[in-house]
Every structure is written in structure tokens, then in C-alpha cells.
């Protein structure tokens, strides 16, 4: 829907935005059970309190606030993160109909900038779905060493990702 258009019922809001919200949540938590719970929380908490009719941009702003709040609460409750503000893409930006395009592109660019062994362990684990033992075998190291490599590679990937955003 266009930014200036009006939403007149919650079901249209839900159907127009649920996939975007789910994908955004999945990109932040990386697993289905949490992504489903957080997506549900965003809509169940926010939609009944919306005043309708509302413009598309108002609804998007409302949902974006709910997403930030729900995500910040997730990291705080389950991992003790004191960080209240969560970096979140704006839901009103143009939606890519290729579901996994954005995340895999960004991940590919991050992996390409990593040292060989870091890139290799992350490709084996995340892109090829290898277990830690299989990844260790492929790389000729012990499973314990593979876990260390994985930790360091993720730390490097986070640094590269942060530099790409800044």
C-alpha cells in the first residue's frame, strides 16, 4: 500500500505486514520458535490498541516501535543485555519479494571480507549445515578447535558487519 493510503481494519494491517515482521525478527534471532513468538507479540500487543482508520505511515511507525520494544525485551530477558535500543530496519522500506535475498547478500559480503579459515568455518556451519564434528573434519582440526575458530570467526563477522553499517 502507498504511504498516504489508509488502513481501515486490523486484518488488512496484519496480512500486509506479517511476513515483513517475521523476516525481520528471524534476521535478528535466527530461529523459528523465537521469531514466531516475537512476531506474534508485536501484533497481539500493538494491533488492538491502534486507532483506525490510520495512514500506512502511521501504522508502520507504530509497528516499528513495537518491534524495537519486543526485541530489546527479548535480549534483556533471555541474555541479560542492558542494551535498550535495537537497530532495526524500517518496515516501510521497499520489500524485496525474493525472501532470502537481503540477508544472504549481506552475509555473503561479510563472509567475503573474512580471513580464509574464518570464512571456511562459517560457510561450513551456516551455509552447508555441517555439524561441528563435520566442520572440524573438513578443516583438519579437533572439534574443540573448531568451536574456538567458530567463536573467533563470529566475532570477526560482527566487526565486519558493524563496519559495513557505519
Amino acid at each position: 500500500m502507498l504511504e498516504g493510503a489508509l488502513y481501515t481494519d486490523w486484518e488488512t494491517i496484519y496480512q500486509a505486514n506479517v511476513v515483513k515482521v517475521y523476516r525481520l525478527m528471524f534476521s535478528r534471532v535466527g530461529n523459528r520458535p523465537d521469531a514466531e513468538d516475537l512476531t506474534s507479540e508485536v501484533f497481539v500487543k500493538s494491533l488492538p490498541n491502534l486507532t483506525l482508520p490510520s495512514t500506512v505511515s502511521q501504522v508502520h511507525a507504530y509497528i516499528n516501535v513495537a518491534i524495537r520494544s519486543v526485541l530489546a525485551d527479548h535480549w534483556r530477558r533471555h541474555y541479560g543485555s542492558p542494551q535498550a535500543d535495537v537497530e532495526v530496519d524500517n518496515i516501510s522500506r521497499p520489500f524485496d519479494l525474493t525472501p532470502e535475498a537481503d540477508e544472504s547478500d549481506r552475509a555473503g559480503r561479510i563472509l567475503a571480507l573474512l580471513p580464509d579459515r574464518s570464512r571456511r568455518i562459517l560457510e561450513l556451519r551456516f551455509l552447508r549445515g555441517c555439524s561441528i564434528k563435520q566442520a572440524a573434519n573438513e578443516m583438519g582440526v579437533s572439534p574443540g578447535n573448531a568451536k574456538v575458530l567458530q567463536y573467533r570467526a563470529l566475532r570477526l563477522a560482527a566487526e565486519v558487519g558493524a563496519r559495513m553499517l557505519s
Binding site: 486490523w10 486484518e11 496484519y14 496480512q15 506479517v18 511476513v19 517475521y22 523476516r23 528471524f26 534476521s27 535478528r28 534471532v29 535466527g30 530461529n31 523459528r32 520458535p33 523465537d34 521469531a35 514466531e36 512476531t39 506474534s40 501484533f43 497481539v44 494491533l47 488492538p48 490498541n49 535480549w75 533471555h78 541474555y79 541479560g80 543485555s81 542494551q83 525472501p99 532470502e100 540477508e103 544472504s104 549481506r106 552475509a107 555473503g108 562459517l122 556451519r125 551456516f126 551455509l127 549445515g129 555439524s131 561441528i132 568451536k147 574456538v148 567458530q150 567463536y151 563470529l154 566475532r155 563477522a157 560482527a158 558487519g161
Partner: protein, 85 residues
Amino acid sequence: MRSPIERIAAFVEDLMRNRRPRRFIASPEEMVVLRAAAALSAARPGADRPSRWFIDQVCADINATVRTVLAKRRRLPVEGRKSKS
């Protein structure tokens, strides 16, 4: 107590199996690492597609919640008048 390396390895293992990851109090460095792991997990082809069952189930939940909220709003003015009389 497990080391950060073991905790993150267990977290990644849960992501790979699409399980709800185990919870733990993470250090600031671990927070950065586990968010990177979550982002990479989402890059797996097709991983971030919601199921039709989930979309329909949440829709039903919202329907019930909206009805409850609207029913409460309709009752509120009536209760307000009763309390004044």
C-alpha cells in the same frame, strides 16, 4: 560453568537445528557474537519464510484479542455511568 566458546557453540547448534536457543547471561562480547550467529543463520536459503499455519494461528489470536479489547471498550462507558449514579 561453561566457557563462552562452549556457550556460543551450543547457541549455534540450536540455531542450526531450528530449536529455541538455550538462554544464558551473556557478556557484552557474547552478545555481539550471538547476534552475528543469528544473522548468519537467517542467511540460510529459505530459512526466514514463515509457515502458513503460523500466519493463520496468529491471525486467530489477534482476532480473539481484538474482540476482547473492543468488548471492554464498549463496556467501559456503561460501567462509568453506573459508578456515578
